[in-house]
C-alpha cells in the first residue's frame, strides 16, 4: 500500500528569537512569568502607541536567513495581518506579506541510517513577525471563560516556510532536527519546544498515480498531462515534539489514503482543512474551519519604517557565522575519518563538545581514540554529574596526554578508565593520577621475567599449549595479575606463547 502513493509534506516553523526584550517594545521575553506581568501599552495595543523595532531581533533573523542560504532582498517592510482573536489585542498581527526579509534558501538533510538519500529542502521564505498571546483554557475550566495571558504578545518570531519537498514523516522529522541544530549553533534561538520557542505546523497531501478508474477529467485543464492526482491538503497543528510531528504525519497519510479511497475527492474540491494532533490518542481531529478568516486584508504598517540591507552587510553576517553543522560534519567525517554515527553524536552535543573533541584529536594524533573517549566516557561523566565541559576539570590537553600515554604503553590499557576517573576526580594530570592509583608501567623485561617464573612453576600449561590448547595460558594471566595488577594481559599472553614456542 505504501507504494501506491507519494506523501507530499511542507512545514511552517515558528522560531522564537533569543532577545531580552520584545520585537516592538521593551517588555521582557522571559518565559514562565506570572500572566500579564510582562506587557505595556505598545504590546497590548493601546491607542496612540507606536512600535519601534528591536535591532537585535532583526539581526538574529538576518543571521538565520543567511545561514539558510536565503536571498536577502535590499528592501523589506512590515504589514498588518488582520483577524479577530482574543489573544491578539491589536486585532492585527505585525507580519510580512509581499516583501519578506528573506526567501529562496535551502537546508540539506541526510539520514545517518540511509533510509533516504541526502536531499536539499528548499526554503520558500523566512520572515520576521510578532507572536500573539496565549489562551489558558484549563485553568478556568467549568467557568465558561478563557483566561488570556498577553506576556507572549509581541515576542519576536521568525516564520520559516519550506517548499513541499519532504516525502516522508521521517524526512520531516530529520529536517526539524537539522534546522534546530543549525539554529542553536548560530545562537539565534534555544529552540525549546516545551516553552514554545519552536513551533511546527505541517501541510500534507498525497499524490496518487492516475489509474484507469480515475482518468484525467476531460476539459479540466488542471488534470491534463498529469499522471498523478493530488488529494486535498490538510494542515496539522498542536504537535509538541519532533516525534509527535513524525507520528502525526504518519497517521494523517494513512487517514488521507482511506479518505481518498472512500470519497475520491481531489485538491481544490474542498477547502483546506485544519486538524489538531492528539498525542495521547495518537490521532488527528478536525478543527473548526476558518473558511472566511483566510481574508487577512494585509496592508503596509504605516507605524514602522522599512528596512534596507546592503550586500556588504549580508557578507558581514555570512563571515560571522563560523563553521555550520553541515560543514563541520563533513570535516569530521573526511578530515578525521569518523563514522557518520560518531560525527553526529559529537555535533548534536553542540559546539563546545566539538571544539573539545577537535583539540583532543589534534593533540593526541588519534581521532578515532579521541572520538571514543569523548563520545563514550566524557559525555557519560557529563551526564552522570550533570555538569559542563568547562567545569569538568579535564582540559582537552590532559585527555590527549592520556590517549598518547596509553598508546605508548605508559598507561596500562586495562586500567585506563581508572586513570581517567582519577584525573577527573582529583583534577590532576596523567602522572599524578598514575601515582595516586599506584600504577607503574610494567616494562617488557618485567613481563618476561614474570612469564618465565610462572611457566616454570606450571609445566602442565606448557604441555597443554604444545598440545594445541593455547587458551591454557589464561590460567597464568590470573596468577600474573595477582602478582602485578598493572600488567597488560594481552601482551603477557603473547609473551607466554612466545616463550613456550622458543623453548621448543
Amino acid at each position: 500500500m505504501s507504494e501506491t502513493y507519494t506523501t507530499i509534506i511542507g512545514l511552517e516553523v515558528h522560531v522564537q528569537l533569543a532577545t531580552d526584550s520584545k520585537l516592538f517594545c521593551g517588555c521582557s521575553t522571559r518565559f514562565g512569568a506570572e500572566p500579564n506581568t510582562q506587557t505595556c501599552p505598545v504590546c497590548i495595543g493601546m491607542p496612540g502607541t507606536l512600535p519601534v523595532m528591536n535591532r537585535r531581533a532583526f539581526e538574529l533573523a538576518l543571521r538565520t536567513a543567511v545561514a539558510l542560504d536565503c536571498e536577502i532582498p535590499a528592501f523589506t517592510k512590515w504589514d498588518r495581518k488582520q483577524y479577530y482573536y482574543p489573544d491578539l489585542p491589536k486585532n492585527y498581527q505585525i507580519s510580512q506579506y509581499d516583501l519578506p526579509m528573506s526567501q529562496h534558501g535551502h537546508l540539506d538533510i541526510r539520514d545517518p541510517k540511509g533510509a533516504f538519500a541526502t536531499k536539499r529542502v528548499r526554503i520558500l521564505r523566512a520572515h520576521l513577525e510578532e507572536d500573539a498571546g496565549k489562551s489558558l483554557h484549563d485553568e478556568v475550566a467549568g467557568k465558561g471563560d478563557s483566561l488570556i495571558d498577553l506576556n507572549r504578545t509581541g515576542t519576536p518570531l521568525l516564520e520559516i516556510v519550506t517548499e513541499p519537498d519532504l516525502r516522508s514523516p521521517l524526512e520531516a522529522k530529520t529536517f526539524l532536527s537539522e534546522l534546530k541544530l543549525l539554529l542553536t549553533y548560530i545562537g539565534v534561538s534555544d529552540c525549546n519546544m516545551q516553552e514554545g520557542s519552536l513551533r511546527v505546523d505541517a501541510n500534507i497531501n498525497l499524490h496518487i498515480p492516475a489509474s484507469s478508474t480515475d482518468p484525467p477529467r476531460p476539459g479540466c485543464p488542471s488534470d491534463q498531462g498529469k499522471h498523478t492526482i493530488a488529494t486535498p491538503i490538510v494542515e496539522i497543528k498542536n504537535m509538541n515534539s519532533f516525534r509527535a510531528v513524525e507520528r502525526a504525519l504518519e497517521y494523517e497519510a494513512g487517514r488521507l489514503w482511506h479518505e481518498w479511497q472512500e470519497t475520491h475527492r481531489k485538491l481544490g474540491e474542498v477547502p483546506k482543512l485544519t486538524r489538531g494532533w492528539d498525542d495521547v490518542a495518537g490521532v488527528t481531529r478536525g478543527q473548526r474551519s476558518k473558511e472566511e478568516s483566510s481574508d487577512y486584508r494585509y496592508f503596509p504598517d504605516p507605524d514602522l519604517a522599512p528596512v534596507t540591507v546592503s550586500p556588504a552587510e549580508v557578507e558581514l553576517v555570512r563571515g560571522s557565522l563560523g563553521e555550520l553543522p553541515a560543514a563541520l560534519r563533513a570535516r569530521l567525517q573526511d578530515g578525521f575519518a569518523l563514522s557518520s554515527y560518531d560525527a553526529d553524536v559529537l555535533i548534536n552535543q553542540g559546539q563546545a563538545v566539538v571544539v573539545y573533541f577537535l583539540e583532543v584529536a589534534e593533540s593526541a594524533g588519534d581521532a578515532k581514540a579521541a572520538a571514543n573517549w569523548v563520545t563514550q566516557d566524557v559525555l557519560r561523566v557529563l551526564k552522570e554529574t550533570n555538569t559542563t565541559l568547562d567545569s569538568l576539570g579535564l582540559p582537552a590537553a590532559r585527555l590527549a596526554e592520556l590517549i598518547r600515554q596509553i598508546k605508548l604503553g605508559d598507561v596500562p590499557g586495562p586500567r585506563a578508565r581508572e586513570v581517567f576517573q582519577a584525573m577527573i576526580e582529583r583534577r590532576v594530570d596523567v602522572a599524578a593520577a598514575l601515582e595516586s592509583l599506584g600504577i607503574a608501567a610494567v616494562d617488557e623485561s618485567e613481563l618476561i621475567a614474570l612469564a618465565s617464573k610462572l611457566l616454570a612453576a606450571n609445566p602442565k600449561t606448557i604441555s597443554d599449549v604444545r598440545a594445541g590448547k593455547a587458551q591454557a595460558v589464561g590460567a597464568l594471566i590470573g596468577q600474573a595479575k595477582k602478582q602485578n595488577p598493572n600488567i597488560d594481559p594481552t601482551r603477557f599472553r603473547e609473551i607466554c606463547l612466545q616463550l613456550i614456542e622458543t623453548a621448543l
Partner: protein, 96 residues
C-alpha cells in the same frame, strides 16, 4: 465604484460585527460613498511612478534590545470588561 451588499456583509463578518438588515442598507450606501471618494485617486495617472511602501522616506529605525519596566498587572487589566486579577476573561475559546 459600487459596493454590493454581499461585500459589506463579508467585511462585517471579518470585523465581527452583527448588522441588522436596516443597518446593512445604510452602511452599504455610506461605504459606497467613501470608497467612491477615495476612488477619485484612480483618476491620476501613475504611469512610471514607483509604488512606495511608506509615506515617509526613512528606513532602518531601530531600538536597542534592552528590557524595561512593564505595566503593573492591575493597570494592564484595568480597562478589561472582565478579568480575574490575573488575566483577561473572554468567552471560551473553543474549537482548538
Amino acid at each position: 465604484m459600487s459596493l454590493s451588499r454581499v461585500e459589506v456583509e463579508k467585511v462585517a463578518l471579518l470585523s465581527r460585527l452583527r448588522l441588522s438588515d436596516a443597518e446593512l442598507d445604510t452602511i452599504t450606501a455610506d461605504l459606497a460613498k467613501i470608497v467612491g471618494y477615495v476612488d477619485q485617486l484612480a483618476e491620476v495617472s501613475t504611469e512610471g511612478v514607483e509604488p512606495m511602501a511608506h509615506a515617509i522616506e526613512i528606513t532602518n529605525v531601530f531600538r536597542d534590545d534592552s528590557s524595561s519596566e512593564s505595566l503593573p498587572r492591575e493597570e494592564a487589566l484595568a480597562n478589561a470588561p472582565h478579568h480575574d486579577t490575573r488575566g483577561y476573561l473572554v468567552p471560551a475559546v473553543l474549537g482548538e
